[in-house]
């Protein structure tokens, strides 16, 4: 009798392994579990014969039965895990997507390329303790010319053909007017940039626009020298165009700076070797600069024995066209969404 029960238990254990191996789904597994371990299952069925055994034999048989149960439970757990893994893999396989189909877009607008570059320039200066100043676009002749050492009939006015409203009020031709307004308002030390629109009579073509933007900079402090002008331009160029950019200044003439300089940077396409982009020169002109003319400082009541300063101006559009490789300035004002969204 005892032997019989033990044999039965052994048989359940032996066959369970094979039967589990043939299981294909969670459902089958559940059914098998009930069949083996359930209330009316095979194991319970065998154990129900225990009552017929003599009491002294029951513990040993009971222990054997528990071992079989544990064994089967362990096997079922493992089988279940494997089954779940297989089923998950199958599910993931079925959920496979074509990742090359387009995304569900949330429409976000684009900054105008001029704003992108201007914001970078502003941030670069802000990080060096500058503030951003502004002044009117419709301006008095005084601020745009006279105070900048460009009296009426000065030939330098020729290079800046001007739109007028009255003999005295005009559309500013340079943001340098803001230099004067700034120095009227605040005393040195001064560290400002003044970006803004400027206007010059120019027929519209691929390289000319009657409206464009300049970024003016002004530093007035004690002990400012030409070295500082050069060093500051150098830092700005590096911040805007990368660490490998070199800056070059060479003599030029502006009535409101003395000495004056033209600012060029090494070509950011060829690094100065000379290419199609920089017309073989290796350098790209980006603006003008100089030490603030003492006549200008004195006009504004700044003591030139104590203070000196430098100023610079850059054309924004030129930077934008170069950076994005745009060959026609009109694109910037045309506002074709295909253009705006392509950058």
């Amino acid at each position: 009798m005892e032997l019989n029960i033990k044999e039965q238990l052994e048989q359940i254990r032996a066959t369970a392994k094979d039967r589990l191996a043939q299981i294909g789904s969670s459902e089958e597994l559940e059914n098998l579990k009930v069949k083996l371990l359930g209330k009316k299952g095979e194991l319970t069925n065998v154990l129900s014969q225990m009552g017929k055994l003599p009491p002294e034999m029951r513990p040993a048989v009971g222990q054997a039965a528990n071992e079989v149960r544990s064994f089967i439970e362990e096997k079922i757990k493992t089988a279940k895990q494997q089954l779940e893994e297989r089923e998950l893999l199958r599910k993931l396989e079925n959920e496979k997507l074509d990742v090359t189909l387009p995304g569900k877009a949330h429409r976000t607008g684009k900054k105008h390329p001029c704003s992108v570059v201007l914001d970078e320039v502003k941030d670069a200066f802000i990080s060096m303790g500058f503030t951003v100043a502004s002044g009117p676009e419709v301006e008095y002749d005084y601020y745009n010319f006279e105070a900048l050492n460009i009296p009426k009939y000065h030939p330098a006015r020729d290079t800046q053909d001007t739109f007028y409203f009255t003999d005295d009020i005009l559309l500013r031709t340079q943001t340098s007017s803001v230099q004067i307004r700034t120095m009227e308002k605040i005393k040195p030390p001064i560290r400002v940039i003044a970006p803004g629109r400027v206007y010059r009579i120019d027929e519209v073509d691929a390289t000319h626009s009657p409206i464009f933007h300049q970024i003016e900079g002004l530093v007035v402090d004690k002990g400012i020298t030409m070295s500082h002008l050069k060093g500051s331009l150098d830092i700005i160029a590096k911040k805007l165009f990368g660490e490998s950019i070199k800056t070059r200044i060479r003599p030029d003439y502006f009535p409101f700076t003395e000495p004056s300089a033209e600012i060029s940077i090494s070509c950011f396409k060829c690094g100065g070797e000379g290419c199609k982009f920089c017309k073989g020169e290796g350098w790209i002109e980006i603006g003008g600069a100089g030490m603030v003319n003492p006549k200008v400082l004195e006009l504004l009541g700044i003591d030139t024995n104590e203070y000196s300063g430098f100023a610079f101006g850059m054309g924004l559009e030129r930077l934008v066209l170069r950076r994005y490789n745009i060959d026609d300035i009109r694109m910037l004002f045309e506002n074709d969404v295909r253009f705006l969204e392509s950058l």
Binding site: R107, G109, K110, K111, H112, C114, S115, F125, I126, T131, V132, P136, E137, V138, Y140, Y153, H154, P155, A156, D158, T159, F163, Y164, F165, T166, D168, L171, P189, R191, R197, Y199, I201, V204, P210, I211, I224, T225, M226, S227, H228, K230, G231, L233, I235, R248, I249, R250, P251, D252, Y253, E258, P259, A261, N293, S308, E334, N335, D336, V337, L340
Partner: protein, 798 residues
């Protein structure tokens, strides 16, 4: 300006490669934009002597020439040209030669006779008839034509024989350096740049008796406009072409050779930078020259054949009765040098720069002369130039200089001095130049340095103080030798202002709402006002007008940004872009009542779109998202029926605190049509200041709710004209503090509701701060709302 290297080297022995020359000059302030050399284009063209001309065996129009090209054997050239004879010297393009146009010439067969090259015309050498006296446009260039002094021999390279082998630099002179608008001026800069010697020979010549006062009397009526007037008379004039060396120099400078007298004035102008003029003495009525202002409306014909109407601001050179030149700008036709001229008056004067500039602008006449005078010339230069002109007269044998010079000199003779502060210069530039190096530079530039004082030569009108001296030192010491340093300064609180930060965030919010930024012109067409249907008396129509606009379309400063936006939308529409969603933070210019004052420049946020099935509520959503992002105070939207630019039933005003801060909606179909669009356009306009001022105080944290919320739907029936805004207001008032949120989830009009009515369905979120709302609490609130609405004729939809 063109600067021939050969001519420049008459004053200094600079002899570096052209590329190096250009680079170094650029670095010392004489902008040299490039250089050319004709000899680099023309190849293998030589002087040939036509020894024999025979008829062509097979062609009547061709002849066969035997040409001596300096070799042991003559070559054969077949030509259709007619203007040569045996014994003529002509340019011969040999086999494998290249002409100025880049055309290649090869040995070829011409009707059965081999031609070993081709004869050339002036044009084929890249020249014009002015560049070679006696030459013709339609025929060969006959080199020994008797009209000039050609002395090349057979076999000579044509580029050498015609001095086409020189390098010509193209320089751009800055406006404060009129002294450099001359070969001598540029040579001085070059000599200093390369630290080479520099010298200008003092002109010397002989005079032939007589006295200028027997011929001429001069009076200057306005000495402010004419600080100096010098004149000399030259008699026994023999008008002839200039010698080749002179013609070639003018050619290289881009100036046409005319005859010896005119050429001399041009030559001196190019060389010294002092414009000169020659009058035919016969035409100087009464032998009297008066430098005076023109009478109002006085007329004269200038050398270019144009009649000019003058006014009293114009300075003229007049004889006893009539003007014979516009001072400093252009001579008169009536006193022009003619082939039969026998006596001339050379004028070398100094005119007041602003006056010349003004006159030249007014007449729309810019000449080589006015371009120099208007920058302010040195009065001393007048004499040097006049002497040089007389020297050239003698050199060319063109006439006899009469003794005596007219010189009316009212120019103040001030000797400018500047203290030599070399320590300060070193500090200002942050360089370490020795006193000797600085002195050397200054002396090379024509300054005298003695006892700590710099004497500035009169031709350097630009130098006034130590800063100007510092600039000269910097230029020739080398900008590239200045060490770049960042300035040391106290820490400053830089950064953006509150308003600037607001604008940055505003841009972000507009882009987050799906709009692309645009950039449009600030001057616009006045037609835009009609296009957006503004009333005739609308204040916006009172815009600032530009006196000298590029055109009508860009003639006024905008007072509204809407036309700019609509134009851009229309442009995109015409480009067939399916949609455009745009914004601009635009400046508008509000005219000041006092026209001597500046306008008010204000920023306006302008948004606009079409396409992608966007409608009124799309724009409202955009506006709302921007208002939220900008933390604007609670806003109300009020129907806007009276803005002529917008659809009367589809526009709203944005109202914060009882103040209108903007408007948006569908553009009036008639306005859209004015922009050529038969589609729905939407726009929004919000003045920047209004939005900025409507900013709510910064929010602080309120504890998250402790008790759960319940949601109740409420479907209502109301009259068509009742707005959702009104109902919402009523519900809020009736519900009391437990109403946390109210949202519309459906609006219905149609068969299911009575005519003239609509159904609106709301979802209400109710919550109490004190307890979990029970069924009876909710019932009380809902009943209150329903009963309240019922009284106003808004009923529950059943």
């Amino acid at each position: 300006m063109n600067v021939p290297y050969r001519w420049l080297r008459e004053y200094t022995d600079v002899n570096v490669e052209p590329k190096k020359f250009a680079h170094e000059m650029n670095m010392t302030g004489t902008e040299t934009t490039g250089f050319t050399r004709v000899a680099d284009t023309i190849k293998n063209v030589v002087v040939g002597l036509i020894e024999k001309i025979e008829s062509h065996p097979n062609a009547d129009k061709l002849v066969v020439c035997s040409v001596n090209i300096g070799k042991s054997e003559n070559i054969r050239i077949v030509t259709a040209a007619k203007n040569m004879k045996e014994g003529d010297l002509v340019p011969v393009a040999l086999d494998g030669s290249v002409l100025a146009s880049g055309k290649e010439i090869r040995t070829g067969d011409l009707r059965g006779v081999t031609s070993y090259g081709m004869f050339c015309s002036v044009e084929e050498l890249g020249l014009s008839v002015n560049d070679f006296p006696g030459s013709v446009a339609d025929g060969l260039l006959i080199l020994n034509n008797g009209a000039c002094d050609f002395n090349g021999a057979p076999g000579d390279d044509i580029c050498k024989a015609l001095s086409l082998d020189d390098t010509v630099f193209i320089v751009d002179i800055v406006t404060n350096r009129p002294d450099c608008l001359s070969i001598i001026g540029v040579a001085r800069e070059a000599a200093c740049t390369f630290r080479r010697p520099f010298a200008v020979k003092k002109p010397s010549y002989t005079t032939g008796g007589g006295n200028v006062s027997d011929y001429l009397s001069v009076s200057v009526e306005d000495s402010q406009l004419c600080p100096r007037y010098m004149a000399r008379v030259v008699k026994d004039i023999k008008i002839a072409p200039s010698p080749l060396w002179l013609v070639e120099k003018l050619r290289d400078c881009g100036v046409r050779a005319i005859n010896n007298i005119v050429d001399i004035t041009n030559y001196v102008m190019l060389e010294y930078g002092q414009p000169m003029h020659a009058f035919d003495y016969e035409c100087v009525g009464g032998g009297k020259i008066t430098v005076r202002r023109a009478a109002e409306g006085e007329k004269m014909n200038t050398l270019d054949g144009q009649e000019r109407s003058l006014d009293s601001d114009t300075l003229v050179i007049a004889d006893a009765v009539k003007p014979i030149a516009v001072a400093g700008v252009m001579g008169g036709e009536n006193s022009e040098i003619k082939p039969e001229t026998t006596t001339i008056v050379f004028e070398s004067a100094n005119f007041f720069a602003p006056s010349v500039r003004k006159t030249s602008k007014k007449l729309g006449l810019r000449t080589e002369s006015s371009a120099r005078f208007e920058k302010g010339l040195d009065p001393l230069l007048a004499k040097e130039a006049l002497d040089r002109a007389c020297e050239l007269i003698c050199m060319l044998g063109a006439g006899t200089v009469v003794d005596g010079t007219v010189d009316i000199n009212n120019a103040p003779s001030v000797i400018k001095t500047v203290p030599f502060e070399y320590d300060w210069i070193n500090a200002y530039l942050n360089i370490t130049a020795s006193k000797e190096e600085m002195t050397d530079i200054l002396e090379r530039l024509g300054m005298k340095v003695e006892n700590g004082v710099i004497t500035v030569p009169s031709f350097r009108s630009d130098i006034e103080n130590k800063y100007d001296i510092a600039e000269e030192i910097a230029k020739f010491y080398g900008y590239d030798r200045i060490e770049p340093l960042f300035f040391k300064a106290d820490v400053k609180s830089g950064g953006y202002t509150k308003e600037q930060k607001f604008e940055i965030r505003l841009g972000e919010a507009l882009r987050a709402a799906g709009l692309d930024e645009i950039m449009t012109y600030s001057f616009v067409s006045p037609k835009g006002f009609d296009k957006i249907r503004l009333a005739q008396d609308a204040p916006e129509r009172n815009a600032l007008k530009i006196k000298n606009p590029l055109g009508e379309d860009t003639s006024i400063m905008r007072t509204t940004a809407l036309p700019s936006m609509l134009e851009v939308l229309a442009r995109n529409y015409n480009f067939r872009n399916p949609s455009a969603y745009l914004y601009e933070i635009a400046t508008v210019y509000i005219k000041n009542a006092d026209e001597t004052k500046l306008p008010d420049e204000k920023k306006v946020i302008c948004a606009g779109f079409y396409g992608e099935k966007g409608d009124f509520y799309t724009m409202k959503g955009i506006v709302e998202s921007v208002l939220t992002a900008m933390n604007t105070k609670e806003c109300e939207f009020v129907a806007c029926t009276d803005n002529p630019s917008y659809h009367p039933g589809r526009a709203a005003k944005i109202v914060a605190d009882g103040k209108t801060i903007g408007v948006f909606g569908q553009i009036h179909p008639l306005a859209a049509k004015n922009y050529g669009i038969n589609d729905e356009l939407y726009a929004a306009e919000i003045p920047f200041d209004a939005l900025f001022e409507a900013t709510a105080p910064e929010k602080t944290f309120t504890p998250l709710p402790k008790f759960p919320a319940v949601t109740r739907d409420l479907a209502l029936i109301c009259k068509d004209e009742t707005t959702s805004g009104e109902i919402e207001k009523k519900i809020r008032a009736l519900a009391g503090p437990c109403l946390e949120k109210i949202e519309i989830f459906d609006v219905y009009k149609g068969a299911q509701v009575a005519f003239g009515h609509k159904s609106i369905a709301y979802a209400l979120v109710l919550r109490s701060d004190e307890k979990t709302l029970g069924e009876s609490d909710i019932e009380t609130i809902m009943t209150n709302i329903i009963n309240g609405l019922e009284k106003d004729g808004i009923s529950l939809r059943r």
